[in-house]
Symmetry: C2
Subunit: 460 residues, 2 copies
C-alpha cells in the first residue's frame, strides 16, 4: 500500500462531502450515500474521501473491488483496453471475434467444478433473473419434451397475455433473510428488509426459514443441527404443499446470507438441501454474487460443501466484475432468443477479470483470504471476550466476516465512531457489521482494524 495507516483530518462526513450531498440531492434521493470519494487518490485498501480523509476500506464498494483501488495492473489493463469501451457490442448477437478466447481466459478459468456453460450479464439482479428463467425453461422442458409448442398453440397464445399455460404458475423457493436482487423477479426471492420490498408487487412464492444458528458454529453443533433439520423439514413440506398451486421449479440460496445479516449454515445443511432438490427434480441455484471470487478462502463458497452433485446454476457479479451465471449442460436452453438482452454484460469486464484471475493465482490470494480470515476471527474473538456487551457472534469464512453488535441500537454509533477513526465497515441485517475487504487485506491491515475496534469499544 502507498498509505500505511488511516488518516482522518475532518469530521466524517466532512464539509466537502456535505456540500456534494446537497448538490446531488437536487437531482435524486441521497438517503443511501455514505461518502463522496476521491478515486484518483484511493489506493488498494485505502479509500480517500472528498475531504482528503484516508480510510482503511473494509467494505470496498459493497464488496465489488477484488483488488482494491487503482491496482497498477488493472489500471494498465484498463488503459490498454480502452478501445473496447468505445464499441460496446450486443453480445449475444454480434460478439467480437475475441469472444470465445476471452470467455475461456476469464470466466471459464474460474468455473465451479461440474459447470462448463456460462453466460454473461450486466449485474447480479439480471444474473439471478435469467438464472430463474433458465430454470423455468428446464422445468417446462422436463414436462413437455424438447420441442417448443407450435405457433397457434394455446401456450403460445396465452403467454402473450401473461396467462397459463404459456406463463405457467411456477415458483422459486427462497429463504427468510435471503437477498437476490431488487428487480421484480429477484425481489420476490429477496427477504432482507421491509424497506427493500414494501409497496412492490411480488410473486406469490414460498419462503422457507433459514437456520438461525448459534456462533461459533463448532461450539453449538447439536442444537444447530436441530435447527437445520427443522428448516430442511419445512423446505420439504413447502415443496409438497405448493405442488398443486404453484409448483416449486427450483430453489435459490446464498452460501452465506449476506445482506440479511451474514447468516451461516453448515456444509451438511447445504448438502442436504442439494439432495432435496435432486430428489424432487427441482433446480438448485447457488447465488454467489457476494460470496464468489476468493474472499471466503475458496474461489466459490460452495467449494466448502463437498457436494456429490454440483449446483445446477451458480450466479455471480460484484468481485467477478461481470455479472452472469455458470450452469450445467442439462440447464442449457435449447433455442435461441431465450436468454438474451441487448448488452448481455460487457467484454471490458472480462478483459479486466482475466487480469484479476492472473493476480489471484500468482499471489495465491485465495489462500491469503483464508489465512488472514483466521487471524481476524481470532482477533475479534479476543475482543469479544473483552467487550461482550459490544461484540458477539463472530463468524466468518476467509475474509467474509461479520459480528453482531450485542447491545440493541448501538450499531450505528459504533460504525460511525470507527469511521471517524479511519476504518470503513459495512453493515448487514438488523444488528451486524461485516467485513468485505479487498483480497490484498493482510494481517497488517487486520492489526489496524483490531486496534481501532478496541479503541472504539473502550469509548462506548
Amino acid at each position: 500500500d502507498e498509505y500505511k495507516k488511516p488518516e482522518v483530518i475532518t469530521e466524517v462526513p466532512g464539509p466537502e462531502t456535505k456540500k456534494l450531498l446537497k448538490e446531488t440531492d437536487a437531482i435524486q434521493n441521497t438517503g443511501a450515500v455514505s461518502l463522496f470519494c476521491d478515486f484518483e487518490k484511493s489506493k488498494i485498501n485505502y479509500l480517500v474521501d472528498a475531504d482528503g480523509n484516508k480510510l482503511l476500506d473494509c467494505f470496498q464498494q459493497i464488496s465489488s473491488l477484488p483488488l482494491g483501488y487503482n491496482h497498477p495492473a488493472i489500471l494498465e489493463q484498463s488503459l490498454q483496453s480502452a478501445a473496447i469501451m468505445a464499441s460496446r457490442p450486443a453480445l449475444a448477437y454480434f460478439p467480437s471475434k475475441d469472444f470465445p478466447r476471452l470467455i475461456k481466459n476469464s470466466l471459464l478459468r474460474a468455473a465451479p467444478s461440474g459447470l462448463d456453460q456460462v453466460v454473461t450479464m450486466a449485474c447480479g439482479s439480471c444474473a439471478n433473473e435469467n438464472a430463474y428463467k433458465s430454470l423455468f425453461f428446464w422445468y417446462m422442458r422436463n414436462q413437455r419434451g424438447e420441442e417448443l409448442p407450435v405457433m397457434g398453440d394455446e401456450a403460445f397464445i396465452s403467454c402473450m397475455k401473461n396467462q397459463p399455460p404459456g406463463s405457467p404458475k411456477l415458483s422459486i423457493l427462497s429463504f427468510d433473510g435471503g437477498f437476490h436482487g431488487r428487480t421484480l423477479g429477484a425481489l420476490s426471492t429477496t427477504h432482507s428488509k421491509p424497506i427493500h420490498k414494501l409497496d412492490v408487487p411480488a410473486f406469490d412464492w414460498p419462503t422457507a426459514p433459514f437456520p438461525k444458528l448459534k456462533y461459533p458454529l463448532e461450539d453449538h453443533e447439536k442444537e444447530n443441527a436441530q435447527e437445520e433439520a427443522r428448516c430442511l423439514a419445512v423446505v420439504e413440506d413447502l415443496i409438497e404443499q405448493w405442488k398443486d398451486t404453484r409448483p416449486v421449479a427450483g430453489m435459490v440460496i446464498e452460501p452465506i446470507q449476506a445482506e440479511g445479516g451474514d447468516n451461516h449454515a453448515s456444509d451438511d445443511f447445504f448438502r442436504k438441501l442439494r439432495n432435496i432438490a435432486t430428489k424432487n427434480k427441482i433446480g438448485f441455484i447457488c447465488d454467489e454474487v457476494q460470496t464468489g471470487m476468493a474472499i471466503t478462502g475458496r474461489m466459490w463458497a460452495h467449494d466448502y460443501w463437498g457436494l456429490e452433485t454440483p449446483p445446477d446454476i451458480v450466479t455471480f457479479a460484484k468481485k467477478m466484475l461481470s455479472g452472469g451465471f455458470y450452469y450445467s449442460d442439462d440447464f442449457r436452453w435449447k433455442h435461441g432468443y431465450r436468454v438474451v438482452n441487448t448488452w448481455m454484460g460487457e467484454p471490458i469486464k472480462l478483459v479486466l477479470l482475466e487480469k484479476v484471475l492472473d493476480i489471484v493465482k500468482e499471489q495465491d490470494l485465495v489462500f491469503q483470504a483464508e489465512n488472514t480470515g483466521h487471524y481476524v476471527v481470532n482477533g475479534l474473538r479476543q475482543l469479544e471476550k473483552m467487550f461482550p456487551e459490544l461484540l458477539s457472534a463472530i463468524r466468518g469464512r476467509g475474509m467474509f466476516i461479520a459480528a453482531d453488535i450485542t447491545e440493541a441500537g448501538k450499531r450505528e454509533t459504533f460504525v460511525k465512531k470507527l469511521l471517524q477513526k479511519g476504518v470503513l465497515l459495512g453493515v448487514c441485517g438488523d444488528h451486524s457489521i461485516r467485513l468485505r475487504p479487498s483480497l490484498f487485506f493482510t494481517p497488517a491491515h487486520a492489526d489496524i482494524l483490531l486496534d481501532k475496534v478496541e479503541e472504539t469499544a473502550r469509548e462506548m
Copy 2:
C-alpha cells in the same frame, strides 16, 4: 468514413465466423448470433466482420452505438478515462466527488422538458423495473401519505412474505406488441413474441391493444383515428375493470413500438393516453430505451407529441450508453434504499455520454437524423412503388425507419441477400425490417442502402 462502400469477400456468415460460432457453442447457446465482429477494424457506419467483410451497418448493435464504431473523440475519451473503469463505485453509496458535475454535464443536458430528476441504471431492463417500482412507491404514497408504516405494522410484516398489504396487488398496464425488457417484471409488460415469454411466470397485469394503423399515416387519418379511439376506449375500460382486483398504478408505452414491429401511433393518441393517465391518477411511463437520443429527429421521440403535462417517467438505455430514467419531482422517492442496487450503472458511461452530447450538438445530429430520415423514407417509398410485392408500409421518424416485407415468409431471404451485398439491417415484429443506424448516417449512405435494396428486390 474511412470506408467508402461495403465490400464483401466471403459468403456471409463466412468461414471464420462459422468456426467461432462452433467454439462459442461449446460454452452457450448461440442461436441469436448473427456475426462475429472485428471491432478494431470497424469504423463509424461500417462493421467489419471476422472474415474481413465490410458491412454498411444500419443496425449498430441493436441501436446502441450513437456515433458508430471507433469515433476518434470517443476513443480518445475512453483512453483518457480508463482509470474510471478500474475503480467502479457502488454509485448510490460511495459516488465519486465528480458525480454531481458528471450528471449535470451528461444526463441533465439531455433531460426531457419538465423532468429534472434522474437516476442511472446499468441497462434498459432495470431502468424499466425501477421505474415501475418508483411508480408503485408514488401510488402507495398517494394512498397512505408520506410516512412509511412503522416496524411491526402489517404492511411491513406481510411484504416479507410477498403478501398484501405490504406487497400490494397493483398492476402496470402495457400494450400488445410492446417490449420493455426481459427480467420478470419488465417481461410482464413485454408482449413482443412468444419465444420471449413462454415458460416464464408473469404478473397477471392488463394488456391493451396498440393501434394497428395503415401507413403512410397521413393518407389514412380517418380510419387510423377510429382505430386509435377504439384502443383508447379499451385502456379506459381496463383501468375501470381492474380497479377491484389489481388496480392499475400506471401504464408504460414506447413512442414507437420497436421490437414489436415498429408500430407507430399519432401524436394525438399519445396526448390522449397521457390525459387518461392524469385523469385516473395513474402514472405514465414513456419507455425511450430505443427511441431516445436523437435518432427520431428529436432528442426524445415524445418531444413530437406536444404534451401539456410531461410523462411522469422517461426511461432510457442503448444510445444513451447508460441505462436509467428521468422523473418528475412528484415521483421522487422520499426515503433512502428504495431504488438502489450495488452498481447503479457506471460513471464511465456518463463520461462518454458527455462527449457524445457535445458532438451531437456541434454537428447538429438531431437535425441530420430528421433530414436524412426524410430522404430515406422518400427513397423507400419510390422502391415500394416499383416493388409492391416486396416492400410496403414504409414508416419512420427521423432515421427510426421500418418497412414491411409484403410477401409472407420472404423477410429472412431478403435480409440475407442484402447482407451478402454488404448491408446489415435489423428485423422486428413478424414481417418488418428496421433501420437503426448511427447518427452519422447521411444521404450518401442512404444512396448505398437504397441501391442495394433495389438490386436485391430485382433478384427476388
